[in-house]
């Protein structure tokens, strides 16, 4: 007796390879935990400086102001009132809290610097090892060379501009080539995976006093510990922007189909089932 097997599509016919999918979801969880626990850590001292030193009394280029009646964010000389959200917000019991970021955005939701740091460093290890593994694997399985490599023609300003226009008109793919990443996609994926995410690791390490002794160059290349802390925070903000754009394009491109493809692997258009 023979069985009719529903064959799994071969790896090369999948839209997303197993390494990509595994890393994508591990990374998504890590970033969620890292951002939320990072905001807990930020709440301990909600001021950002440039240079090596910076403390209360020194000029902060960005700071959160808090009082029982008012919350605001100061950027340079510009004050933006954020009462109800940042610097002055109500917790789940309706009590006013004056920590910078509100409980729903931090991990844990109450203030504990020690717990925030533990969450942060634990997931930082998973994140870093996962990213390193994904990078190596993506070169060895030719994901980078095949899907993310930007060829010279794509660097032409006219080509980039055309793609920007297509995005503005909600046209994300050449209709018969949905598997091929367009230039904006390539730029954002390459920028996030090979620039922004490693930058987060290195600016994070640059804040460590022991790393400063081991690898002083690390802190120096960012212009000091407080600069590294500022860049770490700006990098987090850019990751949030990436996440929002990622979600908007997902919604526009068909959230269920796209999400399922990132879980199951999906099928490359035009690939045969056998």
């Amino acid at each position: 007796m023979t069985f009719e097997m529903t064959e799994m599509p071969k790896a090369k016919n999948l839209r997303h390879r197993r390494t990509t999918r595994l890393w994508h979801w591990t990374n998504a969880l890590c970033l969620l935990v890292l951002i939320m626990s990072g905001l807990t850590i930020f709440n301990a001292h909600p001021r950002l400086y440039w240079g090596e030193y910076g403390a209360v009394g020194d000029y902060a280029w960005a700071a959160v102001g808090s009082s029982e009646t008012l919350g605001y964010v100061r950027l340079g000389e510009t004050k933006i009132e954020t009462t109800g959200f940042i610097g002055n917000w109500r917790d789940s019991d309706g009590k006013i809290q004056t920590w910078a970021f509100p409980g729903w955005a931090t991990l844990p939701s109450y203030y504990s610097l020690a717990e925030g740091r533990r969450w942060h460093f634990f997931f930082a290890w998973i994140f870093s090892v996962g990213l390193a593994f994904f990078m190596v694997r993506s070169f060895s399985n030719r994901h980078v060379q095949r899907d993310l490599h930007i060829v010279r023609a794509e660097w032409r300003p006219s080509h980039i501009w055309e793609d920007v226009n297509n995005h503005m008109r909600m046209r994300f793919h050449v209709p018969d080539a949905v598997n091929i990443y367009n230039i904006l996609q390539k730029l954002s994926y390459v920028g996030v995976i090979f620039v922004l995410l490693p930058l987060m690791i290195f600016t994070g390490l640059a804040m460590s006093p022991a790393m400063d002794a081991n690898w002083p160059l690390l802190t120096d290349m960012f212009g000091g510990r407080q600069s590294a802390r500022s860049i770490h925070f700006i990098g987090m903000f850019l990751l949030l922007v990436f996440f929002i754009v990622h979600m908007v394009t997902l919604l526009l491109a068909g959230p269920f189909k796209q999400t399922w493809a990132m879980i199951s692997g999906g099928k490359r258009e035009g690939a045969s089932d056998a």
Partner: protein, 253 residues
């Protein structure tokens, strides 16, 4: 038109979901077992940071031009006890640093004795666990010099620093291992930026252990105790903040 998912219900369920997730994470965060798992990453930090490079590598040193305009004080600003206040009134002339515990030759040093010993001056960056930094010039006697005089017994594995200040009713203390104890930049500092250390910064004697975060740099030090283990001191975690707030004993990151 059927609307299975109204915007309101979507927002409500998203909020409930997020709330459930958050309280779930809080429950995890409060559970000691889960804390131990999370804290295991700190052991990895310790092992990796100690394995990288020369174990006696120096922390960055700076120039006078790099000094913070004012060296920020945190934690205790003034111990305020009668003994401390009386000692401060006479410029700490009667201050004693007691070396006790697992030393072959336990002994006491007066402040003036410490000042007449070989000194090291270093301009270093003080990194607080909260995230801020301050650069200051510290002068003091290398801890190694005192340890060579008092001679550690073989059983000694840690040094505990006893302090004159109390926070929330508990005496402040800190501890380091012998690798940091013998590090060339580990000094018992009595001068900051060319003047006697101010009360708010730990007068008259403060530990500098430059490769770790600020809470390790015990202020108002009255005694150094050599011990084999830390679990029978304070609440057993090796320091005031470690005991009361679960800060890590190893504060290299």
């Amino acid at each position: 038109m059927r609307r299975l998912l109204t915007r309101r219900s979507l927002i409500t369920s998203a909020a409930l979901g997020a709330g459930g997730l958050l309280s779930g994470c809080d429950a995890l965060s409060r559970s000691p077992g889960f804390q131990d798992i999370l804290a295991s990453a700190e052991d990895a930090n310790f092992l990796v940071q100690r394995a990288l490079g020369d174990r006696m590598e120096l922390a960055s040193e700076y120039t006078i031009a790099d000094l913070s305009p004012k060296f920020r004080a945190n934690g205790t600003r003034d111990p305020g006890t009668p003994d401390y206040t009386a000692s401060a009134a006479q410029g700490f002339a009667d201050w004693q640093l007691r070396l006790t515990g697992l030393f072959t030759k336990p002994q006491n040093f007066s402040l003036s004795a410490l000042q007449s010993m070989p000194q090291r001056t270093q301009i270093t960056r003080h990194d607080c666990v909260e995230g801020w930094s301050a650069i200051g010039q510290w002068t003091g006697v290398p801890l190694k010099f005192l340890l060579d005089l008092a001679q550690l017994q073989d059983k000694a594995k840690f040094l505990v620093f006893h302090c004159a200040d109390r926070l929330s009713g508990r005496p402040y203390y800190e501890s380091i291992d012998l690798l940091d104890a013998f590090h060339p930049q580990t000094i018992m500092a009595h001068r900051l930026n060319g003047e006697a250390v101010q009360v708010e910064n730990g007068a008259p004697l403060r530990l500098r252990v430059e490769r770790q975060l600020g809470y390790k740099h015990a202020k108002y030090v009255t005694g150094i105790e050599a011990v084999a283990r830390l679990d029978n001191i304070g609440s057993g975690k090796g320091g005031y903040w470690e005991d009361v707030a679960d800060y890590e004993w190893y504060a290299g990151i």
